[in-house]
Symmetry: C2
Subunit: 183 residues, 2 copies
């Protein structure tokens, strides 16, 4: 693996309420110089939850996704609040978006969305031993809740409305964990 | 599923060479109004390639990812050029980044990265029947090529340096396709 490129300069180039674009002037170890743009990462990270109920159904939500201007089917997810651990955030989001708390929470993996130009990553968390518990969320409209048999995720991942790469990864990572940690 | 929110207004709010942020003023079907920000989508889409050689190894690259300021292990990927189909782009990227062309290319699924605030999506393409062929790329330094036994992707997806959600999804989608379309 080559030595990391040297960052010669970081320049803020565009700013909005949510997005902060910066230009990176880089010198690679072979002497080549390039300028790359990336979204600066702020905040405390994010969580995505694979929550399995006692009938082995995974809990999904259908929500409006502004990037696509369409409704999508995906896993519950959200930002980690200041002072929260990832597992605490997962349990809170689950209560806000799906109406369950979880007595068992396991961090499966921290995955990235588009690492070439974003530092954002999300903690994929497996939640089991669920109990009914509702916390108020900040959604503009109630989320539709959908359950799906976890044994049938092959059908789910071929649906056009279930196409978020991180959610597909999350389901397969959960299956892999459960295969490797049975019982 | 509720009716899609009405877009009341789209306002450009920040611009850089690569990123175009817009604000969406939305009215949800329940009357609730919100402003969301998203990255505007331009270009012709993108491709990510799961290329399997005759020994059933998947072709990986190790490249610098500016979002993380680190080297990552991932699948070959890139933007679709104007006038190219997704399969043509996959075959070109494979020749640029890995040094192989493919006689067999199958589109597995179009997946999104962060659909709540980005419209970007990537076509996951399975490539087989490879032959040596090199096209010049535009990388600042030569990419390191890594091959990995496709039967051992469980070990790969647990590595810290293989954490791009779309690449994890791509591997599992390819395995699912090959299980459903044997021989």
């Amino acid at each position: 693996m080559p030595r990391k490129p040297e960052i010669l300069k970081v320049t803020p180039v565009a700013d909005s309420r949510l997005f902060h674009v910066e230009a990176l002037d880089l010198r690679f170890s072979n002497g080549e110089e390039r300028q790359f743009e990336r979204l600066a990462t702020r905040g405390h990270g994010a969580v995505m939850v694979v929550a399995l109920d006692e009938d082995n159904n995974v809990q999904l939500i259908r929500e409006y996704a502004a990037g696509l201007h369409d409704y999508i089917l995906t896993l519950p997810k959200g930002l980690i609040d200041p002072g929260e651990t990832a597992l605490e955030a997962a349990n809170r989001e689950l209560q806000e978006e799906v109406g369950f708390g979880a007595r068992e929470l396991v961090l499966l993996k921290n995955i990235s969305a588009a690492p070439n130009y974003m530092g954002h990553s999300i903690n994929v968390i497996l939640a089991r031993d669920l109990y009914p518990s509702v916390l108020p969320g900040d959604e503009p409209e109630p989320l539709e809740r959908v359950t799906w048999a976890f044994d049938d995720i092959e059908q789910l991942v071929t649906r056009d409305d279930f196409a978020e790469g991180r959610a597909i990864a999350g389901l397969f990572l959960a299956r892999l964990y459960l295969q490797q940690n049975p019982g």
